[in-house]
Amino acid sequence: MDLTLKIWRQKDAKSKGKFVTYHVKDISPTCSFLEMLDILNEQLIQKNEEPVTFDHDCREGICGMCSLYINGRPHGPDDAITTCQLHMRKFKDGDTIVIEPWRARPFPVIKDLMVDRSAFDKIIQEGGYISVNTGAFTEANSILISKEDADLSMDAAACIGCGACVAACKNASAMLFVGAKISHLAMLPQGAPEAKRRVLKMVAKMDELGFGNCTNTYACEAECPKLIKRSNIARLNRQFLTAKVS
């Protein structure tokens, strides 16, 4: 299929960016979206132009490095996948595809489609873990966890930290990301002793970094490639309120 691409080009964090139009031809429907961009970049290199910079690594939907806002949707027009898992069979011959970086103040553009998501690392550093030193453990099966709780915990822990939730949200809220980590740890007995401290510090950091608040539109849930549920936001709110009043 032949496609028209309108891609955001921006030299660096300080420069102003703009859309540039490109054309690619004979793209196979079995080609992945990022492979289509590889083909475009190969064309640009042949013309001695700088290729489009974008983040990507595992190309199997788990590292969370790829991003891209495609035709107005984070990770493009398919559900429950990342951009690297998106295939061109979702498009048709003659389509125009608009490709932008994540747009959120806490995720500044570095170059073209690449953004800085280190704000997520900073939130985790505030307490998105169980404070246990190496070697300070007890026998694994002495901690019993019901299958239901372990499954709920795993549902939340499946978050890949890609930032689609923030990119989808009109408030650039990170509540789904933070809620997922809070839930993952809150469902486990190991996480209980520092639960209050954790939620207060992570929420404070989230606010400090400029992420907005949740106004319950749930665009985050709709766009999450790992189907993280909005109930995690409810759990975050509940934990936060309990921690605040006690």
Binding site: E35, Q46, P51, I110, Q125, T138
Partner: protein, 645 residues
């Protein structure tokens, strides 16, 4: 030449590690603060090492090329992690895990290292549970196990199909905690470009800030490489796009030895190649072989019809299906080790029984399991893998069997290390997939995660201290020393040389060409003639690379083409060494299959008389390598032919 003494502690095998710990040197807390350690890589080995060393009070600097330490490719490991807990009461012991690993590696790994790995395996599970890793559980609340290839017990712990992700997030959590505590400093989007050696010891690195393009100097009393494997030398592999050999290759050029480079693992269950534009191959976890059965049609004409789309798998009656693994290996069936399963798939496809349009695929079928257990059980066990398959291939694996084919996955070879995980350069330690130590000629499933975390959580924190105890009087060395300047200039010259080629072909062009040469000649089946041909072709490709490469953009800027070029330049040298190593090893063992050396049944024909050694290569100048041999001695186990029948 450097000292190839593996420094194996004295005493009986099961006492060696405790003997080592009882007698090693330690560093007191006030001195730990004065010692700097550089860790390169934030996967399971790097993140767990940095976190544990930070907890001890050392001053750690950690580097990754990705935007966040959580992205390292350990995250993509799907199936599980082994440990000898024996929770199912099916007869597992530390010794059995050790034995299975040695046998699985076709008797080409070091006994003492492997025993220690099995010994610390249980502590890893305890550690990860304490960190909140949400492992799969039974209804009674205890941990659940499943089976993996090469074992007759169920010793694999897992978190759905995302075990690597959950273990890495556990280590990343611990690392984040130390970053917050100030014991670890993170340098993301930084790539190590060279090692700095002062007075014969590893003392720092030159790193490139990938955002600004600037070269930066960092000092450490010791340096740890945890930079993963080199599977991307084949271009198409299950590795991440950025996975590379460059850090290892630079230290190799500075005197570290590269061991067993030809021991590369081809994983049997990956989604087949679909086109020239393809950039990577996706793994379908080995765990699927617990419930999936592998087969091809018994009749060639049926296979032909399937390839042409005229016949569906479901329409082939049971008696016309060849479950070739169950037929050839009744004792292990679909759970034979990876090297055996991969070769068997290739054998059937080469014989004309392949089932997709290229003829290079076999079926992995869940029909019987779905009938026996119900779709919901299969969905619970493998749901995310089935979804991943459907998104890529556009076929529903609940209704039609998956089509799979072997692909490059893991590299057992790596930088030579002694029992302490130290290379032949004093002060340079290598952990995880980057070293060669534990898996011999073939790694068993669910053992990579075990090794990465064993090295990082439970081995390096001890052995590094033993080394650093003699470094406490060394003050921090300023980075304006001539050794730093010289290393930085070397890196700058190389990058400028790459930029100044100004040819007309892209990095990807050369990488793809290299990949083809490697896959065709140094892949699943190797022979002398093809290996010699590969060496010639790699040399001329390398020459062409340095004449005709085109890199756009600038050197002092974010430049992904330059990053790739720097990595591919090293792959173009490594490829030759892999072929050379495969050529000198006139035997078949594990993943290294030399067609000249096979039994009548087509199995590996090992030669213990002449090749029971680790081939440790020394760099002698561009394209010149010399092999040294570390003999392998087995005191505890009897070396036998590897049988899974």
């Amino acid at each position: 030449m450097a000292d190839l003494n593996p420094k194996i502690p004295q005493g009986p095998l099961s006492q060696k590690w405790s003997h080592y710990k009882d007698h090693q040197n330690l560093v007191n807390p006030s001195n730990k603060r004065k010692l700097d350690i550089i860790v390169v890589g934030t996967g399971l080995a790097g993140a767990s090492a940095a976190a544990s060393l930070g907890e001890l009070g050392f001053n750690v600097k950690i580097f990754c090329y990705q935007d966040s330490p959580r992205r390292a490719h350990s995250i993509a490991a799907q199936g599980g992690i082994n440990a000898a807990k024996n929770y199912p009461n099916d007869g597992d012991t530390i010794y059995r895990l050790f034995y299975d690993t040695i046998k699985g590696g076709d008797y080409r790994s070091r006994e003492a290292n492997v025993y220690r790995l099995a010994e610390v395996s249980n502590a890893i599970i305890d550690q990860c549970v304490a960190q909140g890793v949400p492992f799969a559980r039974e209804y009674n609340g205890t941990l659940e196990n499943r089976s993996f290839g090469g074992a007759q017990v169920s010793r694999t712990f897992y978190a759905r199909g995302q075990t690597g992700q959950q273990l890495l997030l556990g280590a990343y959590g611990s690392l984040s905690r130390q970053i917050k505590a100030g014991t670890v400093t993170l340098y993301n989007r930084h790539e190590m470009m060279d090692l700095v050696i002062i007075d014969g010891k590893a003392r720092g690195i030159i790193a490139r800030n990938l955002i600004t393009g600037q070269l930066e100097r960092y000092f450490g009393h010791a340096v740890v490489l945890a930079t993963g494997g080199y599977g991307n030398v084949f271009y198409l592999s299950t590795n991440a796009m950025g996975s590379n050999v460059s850090a290892c290759w630079q230290v190799f050029k500075k005197g570290a030895y590269f061991a067993n480079p030809c021991f590369t693992q081809i994983h049997p269950t990956c989604i087949p190649v679909h086109g020239d534009y393809q950039s990577k191959l996706t793994l379908m976890s080995e765990s699927l072989r617990n419930d999936g059965r592998i087969w091809v049609p018994k009749k060639k004409e049926d296979a032909q019809k399937v390839r042409e789309g005229k016949l569906k798998a479901r329409d082939i009656p049971e008696e016309d299906r060849d479950y070739y693994l169950e037929r050839r290996y009744p004792a292990y069936g679909n759970l034979v080790p990876r090297d055996v399963a991969s070769r068997a798939a290739k054998e059937r496809c080469d014989a004309g029984y392949g089932v997709n349009e290229t003829g290079l695929a076999v079926f992995l079928d869940f029909e019987e399991s779905i009938k026996r257990l119900g779709k919901n059980v299969i969905e619970e066990r493998y749901g995310n893998l089935f979804q991943m398959y459907e998104k890529i291939v556009d076929e529903n694996p609940y209704e039609n069997p998956m089509m799979i084919y072997p692909a490059v996955h893991y590299t057992m070879g790596g930088i030579w290390v002694d029992y302490e995980l130290m290379s032949t350069i004093p002060g340079l330690f290598v952990a995880g997939e980057a070293n060669y130590s534990d898996h011999g000629a073939n790694r068993l499933g669910a053992s990579a995660l075990m090794q990465g975390l064993a090295d990082g959580y439970f081995i390096l924190p001890y052995t590094l201290q033993n080394y650093l105890a003699s470094e406490i009087k060394v003050p921090r060395i300023p980075t304006d020393r001539p050794e730093f300047t010289e290393a930085e200039n070397g890196v700058r010259n190389r990058l400028e040389k790459l930029m100044n080629i100004k040819g007309s072909l892209s990095v990807d062009h050369f990488h793809k060409e290299l990949g083809k040469i490697m896959w065709e000649n140094v892949g699943m089946g190797r022979n002398e003639q093809n290996l010699r041909k590969a060496i010639e072709r790699i040399r001329s490709l390398r020459e062409d690379f340095w004449k005709n490469l085109c890199i756009t953009g600038s050197i002092n800027d974010l430049n992904t083409e330059l990053e790739k070029a720097n990595r591919v330049a090293d792959f173009l040298e490594l490829g030759e060494l892999i072929a050379l190593d495969a050529l000198q090893r006139n035997e078949s063992c594990g993943g290294h299959f030399r067609e000249e050396y096979q039994t009548k049944e087509g199995e590996c024909l090992r030669n213990d008389q002449d090749y029971k050694y680790v081939a440790a290569w020394e760099f002698k100048g561009s394209g010149q390598f010399e092999v040294h041999k570390e003999p392998l001695q087995y005191e505890e186990i009897e070396v036998k032919q590897r049988v899974y029948k």
